[in-house]
Structure formats: C-alpha cells, structure tokens
Subunit: 333 residues, 2 copies
C-alpha cells in the first residue's frame, strides 16, 4: 500500500499507441475488429503503461458487468463446495468475476445479499439452497438477469433450475434398503428444505411398500461429524432398535459409524448406515459408506452452459435440467 499518481486509463494507452480510446476499447473487447498492426501498437502501449481497465466504468457504459453472484448458505462445510469451486473456476476462466454471498443457514441475509447483487448489476445470480419466499422469487423473476437455481428442481423455477428431485432420491433410497432386506430404518434428517423433502419421500415410499413409519431425528444444518455420534447414542432410546440408519449427510454417517465402532457395534452387521452426498470420505471410510451421489461438476457445467447461451443471446431449450443422482452401494449398508 502506497499512493500517488492515479492509474493509467484508456486514453493514456490510446495516446501512447497513437489511436483513439474507442480503438483501444475495441481491442480489449472484440480484438478481431482491429487491424493487426494497430493491435500490436496497442498491446505494447498496454504493457508499457501497465494499464488495467476499470471494470466499473466498463460495466456502467456497457450495462454488462460480467459479474456473477453466487449464493450459498455457508461454506464452512458444505456439499455444495465442489460445485461452487468448479463454477467459480470456470467462470473466472471465461473472464467473469464471482461475488460470493453467504445467506446463512436460515436464509436470513438472503434479501440484503440479493439487493447487493442487483445493485452491482450482476449479469447472473446462482442460487444454492432453496428460496422459499414467493415474494422474493417473483421479484427475481421481474429482473432481466439470469437466475440459476441449483441442486433443487422446483416445479416453477425462477428462471432456470439445475438439480435433481430430492423426493425421488428419498423414495429410491427407501426401495433400495427394503430390497436389501432392511426392515427398521431410522432417519437422521437435517433441518433444510431439501433434506426434509428427501426424508418425507423416504417415509412415504417406505410405508407405501408396507413398512411401518420410520422413526427419525432432526439435526441442525450445517451437518457435521459430531451429530453422527449423538445420533448413534440416541438410538438406544428408540422403542425398537433400527437395523439401518439413513443419514442426511456423509459426515453424519461417518460420525455415527465411528461411535458405533467405539461401542463395539459392527457396521453393517449390527447396524447399517447410509449417507448422502458421496463425499470423498464416503469411499475412504472404514467401512466404506453407501451414499447418494450427485454429480456436482455436472451441475457446474450445465450452469456455465446456460450462462454462455444467455450471454450469446441464444434461447434455452430447457428451464429444468435434471442431473439425476445415483445410489452408490458400499459396505456400510
């Protein structure tokens, strides 16, 4: 940190290169439209001055900011991290900048963060975690920007949604476990809209297939290892001992397994366990954890495709993109 002279501007570069500012601007934004020789001179002038375009001015003049706002509940420990990372990475590579906004587990700061994003005139908003407030959804719908909802797959997306059906994931897990012969599942359900949807769908499917209503435990988000341990201990108080515990995240599953083993209980022989998210640790744990895999990088990819199309002014073929999910059967169940 130091101070003094203002940074060079486009007119400084233009003067040095012996062209007009307009030409420098063109060189920067649509290089193909400026003559070879001119380009060379401008390139040299930029290097010499150390010019960095002022993107605030650019955004103001062009009404396109190449700025994208990403909303996540939290980053501390989140299944979204991989997707976010792939996205931020990819966007940066294409010359965009990403503003990260944390909305808090209960979406407390959602509104103020959305206002901030809109005030920066971002080109797009990427939402992770569900915006349940209809008024807010409508407000976003009225703005002429791209809004991508990820992970969930709402019936009526704000604009575009990329994700999978949590209800189907829950139901499928119920079928999977029943078919494997389990009969007394216990659910550990994080207090998030999506997790609860999975939990509900699991229970419905389970009962539809003739099972009794599964017992369940709610835990706070973000989920973590320690919750698994507590969840394991809670098992003792249940009217009848479950033969499989369906956890809302791989971390919970991992903690539960560790606690079970510390108590001398074998997984999956004495009690089976499933997780969610198919984090790397699910495959690394002893025993390896049966989990639900969602291709996070596919979500990122599709999101970027959508953004590219929008920027190019093309129209989209689909407003709901289902990336699906897969139950990964491993040792723990």
């Amino acid at each position: 940190m130091e101070d003094g002279i203002p940074p060079p501007k486009i007119s400084d570069v233009a003067a040095l290169a012996g062209v007009s500012p307009a030409t420098v601007s063109r060189f920067l934004n649509r290089p193909a439209t400026v003559a070879r020789l001119t380009s060379e001179r401008i390139r040299a002038a930029i290097a010499e001055t150390g010019y960095l375009p002022n993107l605030n001015a650019g955004a103001l003049a062009s009404k396109r900011s190449r700025l994208i706002a990403a909303f996540v509940p939290e980053i501390a420990q989140s299944v979204f991290n991989d997707t976010m990372e792939a996205m931020i990475d990819g966007l940066a590579n294409e010359g965009n900048s990403v503003m990260l906004a944390l909305t808090g587990p209960d979406n407390r700061r959602l509104e103020s963060q959305i206002n901030a994003a809109l005030s920066w005139r971002v080109d797009a908003i990427i939402l992770t975690g569900i915006v349940t407030d209809e008024a807010m959804r409508d407000r976003l719908r009225r703005h002429p920007i791209t809004v991508i909802e990820t992970w969930g797959l709402p019936e009526e997306p704000i604009d575009v949604a990329i994700g999978f059906s949590h209800a189907r994931a829950g139901a499928e897990m119920a079928r999977f476990l029943r078919q494997r012969g389990y009969r007394r599942p216990h659910l550990v359900v994080p207090r998030s809209t999506r997790s609860q949807r999975r939990g509900r769908a699991f229970a419905e499917q389970w009962m539809m297939d003739g099972g009794a209503e599964p017992s369940s435990l709610e835990v706070e988000v973000p989920t973590h290892f320690g919750q698994g341990r507590l969840a394991y201990r809670g098992l003792a108080d249940l009217p009848h001992r479950p033969d499989v515990v369906v956890c809302g995240s791989d971390w919970i599953a991992q903690g539960l397994i560790v606690e079970a083993q510390a108590a001398g209980v074998k997984v999956p022989d004495d009690v089976a366990v499933t997780g969610f998210g198919n984090l790397r640790l699910a495959g690394d744990m002893r025993p390896t954890i049966t989990s639900v895999d969602v291709d996070g990088s596919r979500v990122a990819e599709e999101a970027m495709k959508v953004l590219r199309k929008r920027m190019a002014g093309e129209s989209l073929e689909a407003r709901r993109i289902d990336v699906g999910f897969r139950i990964i059967a491993r040792e723990s169940a």
Copy 2:
C-alpha cells in the same frame, strides 16, 4: 428473467421526492446531512420506485468500491473456511461486497485473479495462502489499496499480515511431544509452504532436543481423510515403527486413526496421533484428536478492524498481527 423497462435511477427517485439527485445521493451515503423531512420524502420515493443504486456508477464516481477481494487456494475442504466465512459475513454486514477468487493449490491463477480484482478497483485484497513471488508482492505494494495477508506472518508483509508463526507452531509441537515421552515421531506433511515450514521447524527442534531426524511423508493439498489411511499403511515400511504420527491436518489424523483402528491398532496406546487446525471433528473423534488451534474468527476480526481503520483514514499501529496458536492436548496423543 424478463425484460423491458430500465431500472429506476437516482434522478427518478429525486424527481418523485421533489429534490435534486445530489440530495438523494447524500441521503444514501451520509444520511445525517439531509433534513429530517426531506429524508422522509426520499425514503418514500425509494420504496415506491424500488430503487437500487447502481454501485458501478457509484464506484466510478467516488473511486471507492466497497468491494473486497478474497483469495483462497480452494474452498472444497479448507481450514480457512471458517475464517473466510466470518470475514465475508462481517464485511457484508458493513455494506461491503466480497469477490471470492480461487487461486488454485499452486497459485496458478493468482496473477489473473489479482488483475481482475485490481480492475474492479477493489478497496482491499485479502490473501490466504502465501504469495511467494516477490515481483507480485512488489506490484501489490505499489497499489494504493489495503492488502491483508492472513494465516502466515511474513517478515516483510506486503501491507498488513495477520496470522501466526508456523515455525513456532512446529517447534512447539516437537517440544510438546518430547515432553510427553514420545521418541519416534513421523511427520505427514502437506505440500504447502506453511505446512512445510511447520514440518521443518518440528524436525529442527526435535533434533536440537537430541532426537533423531524424524521420518516424514509428503501429501498433496488439499488434504483429506483418505490420505490418513494411506499414511497409516505407509508406516509399515518405515525402518522403525513411530510412536507418534504428526499430521498436517485434522483430516489426515482422522483418517489415520480410522485405519489404525480397523487394523486393530490402538490409538494412542500403540501409536499416538496429532492433527492440525482443531476442526470441530478433532474434539468429536474417538479418540479425540490432539491438535493445534488457531483462532480463525480472531483472524477475521483483526482483518475487519484493519479494514475499518483504513476506510476511516486512520493509520495502523502494527503491520504484523500475531494471533498465536495453542496446542490442544486430547486423547490421541
């Protein structure tokens, strides 16, 4: 997403409120300077129009962006996440926006990301992970913005540094383990500048205290659970079996413990383990993991203090702020 009319601007609000744009601007930026009644009318006009200031225009005109760039190697799994979260949160609360830039584990994209940040004329840059390139450090020094380096504590900060001495942390761990009676440490060292500094300091201190040079294993960053398992298996190939494994992160430690237990080896009786970072799971694991605690929220706090002072134009008392660290002794060592 929809389109049509351009969003309201400050002159629309001004017209509706029957004042000049200048007054609305003042109302927005220094409310104390506008009369009570006028304020009321403006407030109403803003509400009626749904006005959101265009911050690009604001930043351009005022030369202050209230935009802060945060650089991290990655977010997927990182000890920095808590600090980042606290910081993003705090900054947003004070009316700033945060641009998150991923530099990649090897700082590959550092330069382009820094250029992007400077192009947006951010007010400050927060660096996590060490910028080793002296040319880049100098370049940043020449810019009239606040640069905060976190976690490390370089001799000659670019501007301000907030962190702790990794060398001291390594050395202290060596003393701690020796005093506890361990004699054959094995190091699992992530390939990051900071981790390696700790590892080296550990070894030096250990030998200075009369121990033999510790064996060690390098692992890639970001570290993860699976590496601990592999590290455990690698132990078998060592010339003599270590009595304590010093891991570069809690995740590694956790994986190592799980693998040891799966092999019927008791922790810490047969082999002790330490981690780093004091993540929540360190206290939750069975056995609980001895780790090194760094107060991440303190780092965030100090960073925000620095930013506040700079924005207020005050000068700083210190350019290097040591937040220290503590070895948290638990069951695993």
